[in-house]
């Protein structure tokens, strides 16, 4: 299948060669090391990977919320034509919460336990908008209604402990949406929730995107969530993007051995798998990274193809077909991607 070209919408966010390092006592942890991707207006962009791959640090870097000992040490983050990394703190404050907002995995700890949730939405509204308290309160109730909380006028006066996990996540979304941002970063928004509640929240996010037209960066480790929600997806491993494409292409024709491994290692309801195929080993240490491809020590495909270069030099992120990028030596010879693809399809899927 030929991958669909990316939608023609203008670009909203462009990240180039982003590097965020943490200077710990044991050494420098290169949590994010040369990440490139761009998000279009109104797009849901999935950022997938396992714990420690740098997906959350990437999102915190966008909002400039990385604290010491962490530091963004290189790259550019162009948002609506401005480099966020070059803005002053005051300018950044204007962007944060207004143009870009974020929701976190744990919604209850992100809310202040001693104020009613309505007040917390009002606070966000008053920071960024010219309106009086009365108007802000009305708007807060409206927002709670928008995210599907029944009896919003009464619920606005309730305290966070009176909400269940799913309801608290709806409140967080209401706060994040209060200034109608152009970009919403959702960091594992449904991981702490039960599946039936997760389905509600994902449905809500899709509906809100359709209604408000904002772009969403959806950070998750759950490939199922990405498959059902995102338009475009980047897979991260050890601080790098290893594969990027439209969602359909990624699942139909995954190229990177890591992506293939991930997809075939999850049990699927519709299929009967006698055994799950596994990715051997564990994610490499952030400090003591292997020299070449970071996935090489766990890569079966490398062994099958007896590629020696993998452990010596790191491959670049190259485009094998329009819109489909992969970081793997198997595809470096761009003239014969089909041949490689054929040899690969023999591998267990």
């Amino acid at each position: 299948m030929i991958s669909k070209p990316k939608s023609t919408n203008p670009s909203l966010l462009e990240i180039k060669n982003l590097k965020t390092y943490f200077y710990s006592r044991e050494g420098v942890v290169k949590a994010v090391d040369g990440v490139d991707f761009h998000v279009k207006v109104g797009e849901i962009f999935g950022l997938v990977g396992e714990s420690g791959c740098g997906k959350s640090v990437t999102s915190l870097s966008i909002l400039r919320l990385v604290n010491r000992p962490g530091k963004v040490v290189g790259g550019t983050i162009q948002f609506q034509g401005r480099d966020l990394l070059a803005l002053s703190d005051a300018e950044m404050k204007q962007v944060r919460g207004d143009r870009i907002s974020m929701i976190f995995q744990q919604s209850l700890p992100s809310l202040d336990p001693v104020y009613p949730v309505g007040d917390q939405i009002v606070e966000a509204l008053l920071v960024h908008n010219k309106m009086n308290k009365r108007q802000a309160w009305d708007r807060a109730v409206e927002l709670l209604n928008l995210v599907g909380i029944s009896d919003p006028a009464r619920r606005a006066r309730c305290y966070p402990f009176e909400f269940s996990g799913g309801m608290a996540q709806r409140v967080m979304i209401a706060i994040a949406l209060s200034c109608e941002p152009d970009l919403l970063i959702a960091d594992e928004p449904t991981t702490a929730l039960d599946v039936t509640i997760q389905a509600q929240i994902l449905e809500l996010m899709l509906e809100l995107r359709a209604r408000l037209g904002m772009a969403i960066i959806l950070i998750t480790h759950d490939l199922g969530v990405v498959a059902e929600t995102a338009d475009w997806v980047a897979v991260m491993y050890a601080g790098r993007v290893v594969e990027e494409s439209s969602v359909g292409t990624l699942f139909e024709e995954p190229l990177h051995p890591y992506t293939r491994g991930l997809i075939s290692s999850i049990p699927v309801l519709e299929q009967d798998r006698e055994r799950l195929s596994i990715i051997p080993g564990v994610v490499c240490d952030g400090i003591d990274m292997p020299a070449g491809c970071k996935f090489a020590p766990r890569c079966q495909t490398r062994v099958e193809h007896s590629l020696a270069i993998c452990s010596r030099r790191e491959p670049d992120l190259i485009e094998t077909s329009p819109g489909h990028k992969v970081r793997c030596w198997l595809y470096e010879d761009a003239n014969q991607p089909a041949a490689v693809s054929q040899t690969l399809s023999g591998a267990p899927a």
């Binding site: 599946v195 039936t196 449905e203 699942f251 997809i263």
Partner: protein
Amino acid sequence: MDATPSNTNHLKAGPRAGEYLIDVRQLVKYFPVRGGLLQRTQAYVKAVDGVSFKIKAGETLGLVGESGCGKTTVGRSILRLTSATSGQVLYEGRDVLKASPRELHSLRRNMQIIFQDPCSSLDPRLQIAESVGLPLYVHGMRSARERQEIVLAVLKRVGLEAYHLKHYPHEFSGGQLQRIGIARALTLHPKFIVCDEPVSALDVSIQAQILNLLSDLQGEFGLTYLFVAHNLSVVKHFSDRVAVMYLGKIVEMADRNEIYQHHMHPYTQALMSAIPSPEPGRKRKRIILTGDVPSPLNPPRGCRFHTRCPVAMEQCKQQEPEFREVSPGHWAACWKAG
């Protein structure tokens, strides 16, 4: 592997494959809620409210449900890690809940548990060799040297090395810790293991490693599992039979393929349709349940699911449906089933 305890001969020979090893009858666990000046019991959280099932020797029963449905309490009550309020748990015909402390001690040699969070279930100040060898010590088995040998054999079987013996828990990754937790459960060569969300704290690529390991061990040692988890695709992959719990009760139970293809309870259906499918083109028809799970402090009258059920009728609000065998081996508690 020579880990079979020699002094188990006095124990009754276990049932062969196909016979029932575990028989849970009308298990009930209420947690009292205390409050007020005198800390009087004011109400009960009905965590488990009449659960019955049987597990054959060598079989895996998957117990699935959302948080707070009581699935973990069922697992813990079977091992008497929490004392049940009423009901019976028969292990090879002997009632675990009524066993004397001595009997319980010998029963527990055959029943082990693997916890969800391997990090908090290992003592941070004990070396791995000690943690894994502790069950052998507690049951007074073998000399220190023999214990060491058994521990090493078990650790190697789950994929760790000899040099790991002297390490402490904080030096391991989550996947490795879960392997250690499995090793500790195996040292006594049990027949029955409760796996309480063994993979939900792990990354996907590690999850598959652990699931494969558990299934290899089952074949090798003839283990019987109660596999407790919230992820229905994992449960369906791993189990022979699946029981779905909702608010302290089992609402449906059947063979894994039967429950997947011919589920009868609307909750099972909703649970299945809610799992995001990693195949973009093939979206399931989603049934989105409204609202949250009601509080087990005060479960709804009638069918407990009627407040969220898309097909509830008037009868469901009044009368609680009986958990009955609708077709051979397929149990459901729904007025509309069958």
